[in-house]
Each structure stands twice: as C-alpha cells, then as structure tokens.
Symmetry: C3
C-alpha cells in the first residue's frame, strides 16, 4: 500500500507541511525511518530523534513542526491520526473464505460462506459464524456460540459454550471465553460445585488479549459492552459487567458480579473485589486493589514504588511500629485517650 | 428437568412453605425469575428483590421466610441447598462415548470404551483414560498420563506427561498440567536447566480453572489433594503440595516446594513464596503476599485499599519520611537512643 | 542411563569421596534415595536428611562431606554440578523426525527433514522449522515464523506471525508469542486500534513458560536475548527488550517499550511500568512494582509481608492517619511550617 501526503491529509483531516506529492508506503519509528516511511511524534522524550529523522513524513502537532526536518502532517491528536493512517498502510490480513478440510464443523452449526475456518478448528452444535468472520487454527467454538461478522478468533482460542460475540471483535490466541465461574458452596464434606449456567455476551469492536479468561455467568450472563479493550492474561469473573470502551492492562482481574462503568482504565496487575460498582471514567493505577464502590470519576492508586531492599525493609519495620510511635506522641502531648 | 417442591424437600432435607406441588424447572435470580424458577436468598443486600420476586419458589433461611411472597424451601445453608438442587435441575452435559474420527490415540494408550474423545484430541503413549471420562476438542493427554473416571478435560487442555488425575475432576480450557518447573542453576555462562523429572498427582473431585498452570515436580511429584478448587490463571510451581479442599481465586500463585494445608482459602492475586509451610484453615486476603510459615489458622492480609491518587501519593510520601518523623519524636522525648 | 562416580568426576570436574566404581542410574531426593540414586545437598535445612540418606552418592561441597554417610562427589557449586549430571542421567526425550499425518504444513513452509511435527500441528506460509526442532501436538507456527535448530515447542503453543526463535529454545504449552501489542489511541467514539506490525526476536537457549505471552512489537520487534528464562503466566508487552540471562518468575509482567538489562531476576507477581530502563544485574523482589528507571545494580523491593488481618488493618488505619500524626509532632515541636 502506498499513499501521497496530500491524499492522506484530505482523508484524515490533517494539514500538509511540505510537498503533498510525497509518497509513504509504511510506518517506522523516527530513528529507523527511511524516505518512504511515515513516522509520528507526540512524546517529547523523542524530540532529538525527530530532529534527526530521515522519514518521508512525520505526523505531529503544529507546535512541533519547527523541529521536523522533513514533510509533515499536522494533527491535533498525532497518535490517533497515525493509528488511522497506519491501518490504511498496513491493513489487517484478510483470510480467504472457506473451511479447511481438517476443520470439524457440526452439521447443526451455521457458518457463513464468506467466513474463514482454519485448520483443525472445531465448530460445535448450533454455533453460528457470521459473514467474513475468521476462526483460527485449532480454535474451538463450542455449542450455541455466536461469532459476529468480521470477528476474528485467533489460534487456540476456546469459546466454551453460549458465548455471543458481536461484530469486528478480535480474540487473541489462547483466550478462553465462557468457562465456568468459580462458584463453590461449603459443606461438611468439602466444596459443592454451584452449576454455572449463564453465558457471555460481548458487544461489537471488542478486543480480548492472549490467554485472557472470561467466565460465563452463574445464572445470568457475564457482559462486556462495545469497544472494550482487554490486554493479555486478564481474569473476568462470572457476572462481571464491563461498560463501553473500558480498557484493562495485563494481569489485572475483576471478581464476580462487579459492575464497571464506561471508559474506565485499569493498570497492569490491578484487581477489583467482587459485588461492587465502579462508576464511569475511573482510572486505576497499576498493582492497585479496589476494595469498595467508587462513585466519583478520577484516578485511584494504592501501590508503593520499589526501593533498595535495605531501605525498604527499614521503612516496613517503621510501619510495623507505627502504633508505638503514635503512643509516644500521645504521651508527649500528655493525653490519655487514643486520638 | 422439573421437580416438585415437596420432592426436593425430601431429597435435600429442606422444609416446604406453601404448596408442595409447586413445580420448578430451572434456576433464576430473584429479580428475573418466573413462575417456574427456583431462586435463592442469603445475601441481605438483595432483600428488596426477595420481596418483589415472582419466582416459583425461593430457597432461604427460616428467618427470612416472612419476606418471601412465594413458596419457599427452608434450609440452614440456602446457598448449599441451592447448589445441590441447581445441579439436579441443570445436570452437566453428558458427552457421548466414543472417539471422534479426527482424534489421534497412540496404540499403547488405554481408553475406556465409555470415554468421550473429542475432535482433534491427542492421547499419547501409555496414557489411560478412565470410564465415562471426557477429553475435549484439541486437548492433549501426554505420555503416561492417567485420567480418572468421570473426569472432564475441556478444550485445549494440555497434560504434558506423568500427570495422574483422580475421579470426577474438571479441568477448564487452556489449563496446563505437568509443564517443567522453573529450575535453573547459575553458571559462569548463564543458566543451566535443571531437569524436571517428577510428575503431578491430583486427587478426586478437583476443579482446575482456565489457563491455570501446574508444574511437574523437579524430582518427586507436585501434589494436589482431593476436593481442591483452583480458579483461572493460577500458578502452582514444582513440588507444591495443596491439602484437601483448599481453594484459590484467580491470578494467585504458590512458589516451589511450599506445603499448603487443608481447607485454606486464597484471595485473588495473592502469592506465597517457596519452601514454606502453611497450616490448615488459613485464609489469605486478596493481593496479599505470604513470605514465611504460618502455623496458626486465621485470616491474614497485607494489601492496602486504593485511594484517590493525590491522597495516596501524599501518604506514600509520609511513609517514606517515617524515619525522620520517628527521629523528631525521639528528639521531643529528649532521648538519645533509637527505641 | 547409568554412570560411575569416577567417570562423572572426570566429566564434570568433581572429586570423588568413596568408591569411584559406584554406579548411579537416576536422581532422587536425599530422603527417598536408594542405592542407585544420585542426590545433592546444598541447603543446610536438609542436613538431617543428608545424615540419614541411603543414596548411592551425593553431590555436595567439601565442607559438608563429613555429614555424608555414602560416597560423594565434591563440587564448588553442588546444584550446578547436579543439574549437569541429572541432564546426563535423564536426557530430554528426543522426538522422532517426520511429520504426523494429521499435521497441516503450508506448501511454502520449509521444514527440515530431521524435525518432528506432532499430530494436528499447523505450520503456516513461509514458516521455517530447523534441524531437529520439535513442534508439539496442536501447536501453531504462523506465517513467516522461524523455529531454530533443536528448539522445542510444546503442545498448544501459538507463534502468531513473524516470530523468530533461536536454537535450543524450549516453549512450554499454551505460550503465545507474537500476539498484537496493546496499542489503542483514544478518540471521541472510543479506542482506535493501532496496528501492530513488528515481530518477536528470541535468541538461543531461551526457555518460555506455560501460558506466558510475548507480544509482537508495534513497529519494531520485541526482543528477548540469549539465555533468558521466563516462568509461567508472564506478560511481555510490545517492544520490551530483555537482556541476556535475565530470569523472571511466574505472574510477573513488563510493560511496553521497557528495556531490561542482562542477568536481572524478577520475583513472582512483580511488575515494571512501560518506557523505562533497568540496568544489568538488578534483582526485583516478589510482588514488587518498579515505576522508574533503575541505574544501579542491586536488590529492590516494595512489598509488605502479610499479618493477621486484625493487626494489619490497625496498621493500615495508622498509615491513613500519618498526616495527622505528623501535624501533632509539628505542634509539639512548636513549629508552624510543614517539615
């Protein structure tokens, strides 16, 4: 794919600085770009790379154009404009329609003729696969699952059963959707499994990372709304509800029945307890645990930055003697009551 | 499946309030139940839903019967009784006996005629699959593994080798049992792999979550006793020993050679260092790290609840100056020695 | 496999105590060894087991030989010597050359005649599999991936595309290499996916644990250098660079574009934010979050050991009132300014 700057400017609402006939064919970093590369600049830490870049053109803010030695596309949001142009230059691979001879498709399944079914894929009873959808090699679509149009399940993905995926979703390899929730009732002789009979409902334009797990609901469904982004190795427990456009980084987890609002963002290794509600527009820091309802948008954290082990251990020891320190302050104050 | 309240009461040791001929056919939440639904009430947060429910019947404690507008089954432990009745109403799917034509079964493997072997499953040399066991699509049972009667491996599960699973276990998709432990000896030229030659021994009635990993032992076996419950994305390292009925929530991990007692419970994202011993009946909070032996049953925690970022950062800054604060208190006390 | 102590001593640079004609055939723990077992002793916690062992021989330091009731091999680094001898006694299984009839190999792929391709494996377009490499059952090697000589992909591994693996690597089951990085640009209508077009480059002698994920680079490659060791369930984000011989324990994660030096070690459940640099020879404790550059080798931690819940909650309450305590100290000091 190749494009002229002038055409890109019209298509994506940018302004050209330099020759609009400049041709770019691919994206590259500022440091390693060549004369046919499109690059972008938004993080000031890379200003020296910008000044020395040999890119064909750079997407950047108007205020940064003075440091750019090559043609530029001016955009209010350079990263967003870059994302869109990069998608044009590097379109996702389109997999050919048809079923590989080794795929196993249940006679009761409905697979659109335009869908791609990869080698060794398994499509179970009463499952449906929509137009232009793609099922990767060794992926499994269990009973009664529905895969929407243009949705792509990568290799080794498992939809267990009763999972409904909307359109244009991407599920990366190894992800498991629709596994049983963790429901166990204690008894005198050990845990009794609580049957998990709900499904998973996932909206349109959702992306789910590699080896991430989304459990089916206990009775009703686990729900992931349109536009949600889940990174790798995330746990979404039974009956969680994730609002539109919420994004979570790797190794984070949401416990059962918790409701998360729209446009929330979770840092890596963050966690949320079960049965609580988090409102829209909440940002949670990395390695942070949320243990109760959040009713106000904003940025919440609860993690400590690391220090040299010896220094850290000294602080932890102080922390452990805080009670004593407080008593000594009270004594100095001459008080008798705990404050 | 359908059942009359009177029959359920006899079978599960409950008492009926209302018409014992009331028929229920499925379970539902209090809010969404219809006249053929069985629901349950145990969490007081849902009392208003109880008062408005249109369920056919509700399982609850005698003390709550006054708030129930429909027939009820009284039970000391409503969640437990509900789990058992729900299993009757929604029995797990029974997979038909026989091998799918696409499955690859080594000639030296022994597969019971009543077992189900799904599409593209692979059964390795000298493996055994017991009566009524089920091996899901694309699952792999490696050399010398033994799958007990009525045990169900879901899709894309891997038993690497020398994994012995008892009866009535459930292993959810993507779980890996029997992978090499993380054994590395440092040398002048880098890490030298320490051969991992042990196996994994798993008792009866164990449930293992999606994408959870259980490593084989270095020399002797990794052991998981009867009735253990592991949620999704959990790491069990080599030579760990988990006692009967211990349960762990998602994203938690136990490091190598640690021995965990019976009936312990671990919150999500909790972790335990290696080579320690945890006694029976220990409960570990979420996001908590256990770094030394625990010899006394009880509830242990070590995590901080999140706060608004600005407030939290101020507290962290205070924490980092605790030494200084302690020095100032000592100065006020007129002391010269650190307490 | 069997070996005489005298031969082992010559081959691995040890010294024999006792009869050099002693034959060992396998490794065992001190406690469960028999007369043909080789065991090792390096952790003083096991000294009583050493004194009572019935092993054929024990690898240990010269200083410990006095407590050994059986023949011994003296080594400066007993664990390292043991690792090497154990590899001799228990060599990794060699899988036979050839393709299983059920494997699907693209006509444009190049597979060495000495390589093993297991049942239901899928080898994609323009992929290459080197001499004596092994591709496990149900593993997927995507387009343009290169698997080096003697490298072993276990069952259900996925190489998505453009993943280059060096020689003698081991990738454990369920690992996913080359999945899209988590690149999303915010827009008024939700997240816009940033195309991920880089690959993954992995050196020689790298070991990657079960269900671990390594994302492809956004533009340039994600890089893992020679000799790196990754445990299970680890997340390596796009454009991370891991230096030679760095080792990470389970459930840890490195965020995007972070550069990690050589010979670093990360404890379980540790995490590193994105876009930072960590120098060589850094050790990070378990459950520790690294939030900024580290320029000095050493041991860094940031986690709190757990305590009984009641005790811990009291300390957390104190922590939350630190500001107030500091104000009271200032008042006692008669000061008006915050220190």
């Amino acid at each position: 794919m190749q494009a002229q700057l002038g055409d890109l400017a019209i298509r994506f609402g940018c302004e050209v600085v330099g020759d609009p006939a400049t041709v770019v064919t691919h994206v590259a970093t500022l440091a390693n770009a060549d004369s046919e590369s499109l690059s972008f600049f938004s993080n000031p830490a890379y200003r020296e790379e910008l000044k020395r870049t040999r890119a064909g053109a750079v997407v950047l803010r108007e205020a940064d154009a003075k440091d750019c030695p090559v043609p530029a596309l001016l955009a209010e949001e350079p990263y967003l404009a870059f994302a869109r142009i990069a998608t044009l230059l590097h379109p996702p691979e389109v997999l050919p329609p048809g079923r590989h001879a080794s795929a196993v498709v249940d006679p009761s399944a409905e697979v659109d003729a335009s869908a791609h079914i990869g080698p060794h894929a398994v499509i179970g009873p009463r499952a449906t696969v929509g137009a232009h959808a793609a099922i990767g090699p060794n992926a499994v679509v269990g009973p009664r699952c529905r895969v929407g149009a243009y949705t792509h399940l990568h290799a080794n993905v498992t939809l267990v059963q009763d999972v409904v995926l909307g359109e244009r979703c991407i599920v990366h390899p190894g992800a498991v959707l629709g596994s049983d929730g963790f429901g166990n009732a204690p008894s005198d002789t050990g845990w009794v499994k609580v049957p998990q009979i709900g499904g998973v409902r996932i909206g349109d334009d959702v992306e789910i990372g590699a080896n991430t797990t989304v459990d089916r609901g206990a009775i009703e469904d686990t729900v992931i709304e349109n536009g949600v982004r889940l990174d790798n190795l995330i746990q979404i427990a039974h009956n969680v509800h994730l609002g539109e456009h919420t994004a979570m980084a790797a190794l984070s987890g949401i416990s059962g029945s918790t409701i998360v609002g729209r446009r929330c963002m979770f840092g890596g290794q963050s966690g949320v307890v079960g049965h609580i509600t988090i409102c829209d527009d909440v940002v949670v820091g990395g390695a942070t645990m949320i243990s109760k309802d959040i009713n106000e948008p904003g940025f919440y954290t609860g993690s400590f930055p690391a220090e040299k082990d010896k220094v850290w251990k000294r602080k932890v020891a102080r922390f452990r003697r805080l009670d004593e320190l407080a008593r000594r302050v009270r004594a100095l104050e001459g008080g008798e009551q705990e404050s």
